[in-house]
């Protein structure tokens, strides 16, 4: 299929008197890992939330899989929503349910009622994110930060999404765990052929994961392309963001991880 999993057309956002985005056009090709980067308050997370329909843009449209996000009947919209998964920054696990029920939740909602099937599916998803079955009956409050993210990823992957959105996937993880998490997402991307969109501040993660980078600055997309191309764009923001000494070291580390 030639349609883009995510396509933003002329998207503008206003909060009160300030314009966060102005006329953003972005088309994410299938199978790519696209990183959204930008300074604090540049509206990266806002853009991500607009892609999944948690926020509506002031102007312009979001197209998912070639159709407007809010088009069609309620049924159609539900079908569309089941084709992507989102990993929230804090995991957003349902704290009243244990790990097993959290991962099984989207499957049960979808209509998988066969308990044996459900159990195997959940265990498979947990194995995919490298978690032992022993933690299945724990409550989210009893998990470490890294485990919460893994369980949340397993839940996001439960319905076999074609598109995965990650909000700061490595924020709050120590370097070792965040490298592990990056490897995990890399492996899943290869194995499942997902399209991935992530928002990150972490240049290690960026260099290790992203096949394309979209730079957000002053409310528009400054540049969109492979990392090497972005590095060659002449712009004060890109200069500061990618070419400082710290950034160079982080990028080199990330590349080595690939």
């Amino acid at each position: 299929m030639s349609t883009f999993p995510v396509e933003l057309k002329g998207l503008s956002t206003r909060f009160g008197q300030t314009w966060v985005h102005r006329q953003i056009d972005l088309a994410v090709p299938a199978g790519e890992v696209v990183a959204l980067v930008g300074g604090s308050g540049s509206g990266k997370t806002t853009l991500l939330r607009q892609m999944v329909g948690l926020l509506r843009p002031t102007e312009g449209t979001v197209h998912l899989f070639g159709e407007p996000l809010f088009a069609g009947s309620r049924r159609d919209q539900l079908e569309r929503r089941r084709r992507f998964g989102m990993l929230f920054q804090q995991g957003a696990l349902f704290s009243a349910l244990d790990v097993y029920s959290n991962v099984a939740f989207p499957l049960r909602e979808f209509g998988v009622t066969d308990e044996a099937m459900l159990r195997d599916l959940v265990l498979l998803k947990l194995a995919m994110v490298e978690l032992e079955p022993e933690i299945a009956l724990r409550m989210p409050a009893e998990l470490s930060g890294g485990m919460v993210k893994r369980v949340a990823l397993a839940r996001a992957l439960a319905l076999e999404p074609e598109l995965l959105l990650l909000d700061e996937p490595t924020a709050g993880l120590d370097p070792d765990r965040s490298a592990g998490f990056v490897d995990l997402i890399c492996a899943l991307h290869k194995a499942l052929g997902l399209t991935v969109i992530l928002v990150t501040h972490d240049l290690d993660t960026l260099a290790a994961l992203a096949t394309r980078v979209a730079v957000l600055s002053e409310g528009r997309i400054l540049a969109f392309g492979p990392l090497d191309e972005i590095m060659n764009v002449q712009d004060p923001f890109i200069e500061r963001f990618f070419h400082s000494e710290r950034s160079q070291a982080a990028l080199a580390r990330g590349r080595a991880e690939r």
Binding site: S95, Y100, F110, V112, D120
Partner: protein, 377 residues
């Protein structure tokens, strides 16, 4: 083709005897399989034991589809399987899963029920100890505040007083007025039968000022302000705001609990007065309409029927109930653990316990004040 233009899953069984070949094609995904699951299972059941499985024509296979086949195969690869290289890792993952199963939960036994009961009894003990500890801590903090006058959280007290007192006035007035009208109406029906119309003043005056006013306002305040206090402190626990306060060297009891307790203790007598007054007004209006009792007569008879000691008892009850509601609410708020379930459980416990405590203490008051302020004994 379905709506998204994907080919549906299909099973073709070709050949006979030793040479049966089972060719699978289309998308073996959760989305396309789930509406056809019964059919597909039936078709799979028709496949003979000895056959060649050909998965070469499958256009997409996800974990649901692969698990379906895996379970049909008895959790191992069939001896004759034509598997494209691209699908190899999918089955490798399933093979790696092996016989992994959920950790077993111990079965429920008869003794578990007894243990549950025992735990509940102990829980009550724990609550009593914890509550006493909270009260003790507040007393220690009061002793500290007496020495360091500058540390009194006056601003928070004032803000809390406004929130639990002033903002509760409309709802207290509404409920009080309606209860007054209803009580007056029902009593009037009975009293008229005995020609004892004038005693409506005694019934309303004593009943509302001494008993109904404080209890009614307490129940309202427990539901309105008590639950809000528990939820607020609880959410501050969840978001680690209380830990932030502690690291700044600020006592949670001084800054969070004490202002609420003081504010509610001061606001409740005033709310009781206000609620009782409006309830009596409601009763007076109803009596005027139904029994033709004039406002003048009602207001003149009221001080004679209700000795002033009753007002004092009503206000004292209000203060004590306010103190207890705030303490119970703060106690349960500080017990909240960082998850939604705990927040809802503790808020429920807070409201239920404070209403129960109020009614218990009201009974104690009734006994303790039985010789005070009652005319015609």
């Amino acid at each position: 083709m379905d709506a998204l233009g994907r080919p549906p899953p299909e099973i073709r069984i070709e050949g006979k005897g030793e040479q049966v070949r089972v060719a699978l094609s289309g998308d073996w995904t959760l989305r396309l399989l789930s509406p056809l699951l019964a059919d597909i299972r039936q078709r799979l059941a028709q496949v003979p034991q000895i056959c060649v499985w050909d998965l070469g024509e499958i256009s997409r296979l996800d974990s649901f589809g692969s698990l379906l086949l895996w379970q049909h195969w008895g959790r191992r690869r069939p001896p004759q399987l034509a598997l494209p290289d691209a699908l190899e890792p999918v089955f490798a993952r399933l093979a790696a899963l092996g016989d992994a199963s959920l950790p077993a939960t111990p079965p429920y036994r008869f003794l578990d029920g007894t243990a549950q009961l025992g735990r509940m009894v102990f829980a009550i003990g724990h609550h009593l100890i914890g509550f006493t500890a909270l009260v003790g801590q507040i007393l220690l903090d009061l002793a500290y505040l007496l020495r360091y006058r500058g540390h009194w959280p006056f601003l928070e007290m004032s803000a809390n007083f406004y929130k639990v007192g002033v903002q509760a006035m409309p709802v207290t007035a509404l409920v009080g007025f309606l209860i007054g009208v209803v009580m007056s109406y029902l009593s009037a029906l009975q009293l008229r039968a005995f020609g004892a119309d004038v005693f409506i003043v005694n019934i309303l005056g004593l009943g509302i000022i001494r008993e109904l006013g404080p209890v009614l306002v307490s129940v309202l305040v427990a539901g309105r302000s008590g639950s809000a206090m528990t939820a607020q402190i609880g959410v501050m626990r969840v978001t680690e705001e209380i830990d932030a306060l502690t690291t700044m060297g600020i006592s949670r009891h001084v800054r969070l609990v004490l202002p609420k307790v003081v504010a509610l203790t001061l606001a409740m007598p005033l709310l009781t007065l206000w609620g009782s007054a409006v309830a009596i007004f409601g009763g007076m209006v109803s009596a005027n309409l139904q029994l033709d009792l004039s406002f003048d007569y009602f207001l003149n008879a009221l001080p004679r029927a209700v000795p002033v000691a009753n007002v004092v008892i009503g206000l004292a009850k209000g203060a004590v109930f306010g103190l207890l509601i705030a303490l119970v609410a703060c106690y349960f708020g500080l017990r909240v653990k960082p998850n939604t379930e705990s927040l809802s459980a503790n808020t429920t416990a807070s409201v239920v316990s404070s209403i129960t405590v109020v009614i218990l203490v009201d009974a104690v008051f009734a006994i303790a004040t039985r010789s005070i302020g009652l005319p015609y004994r």
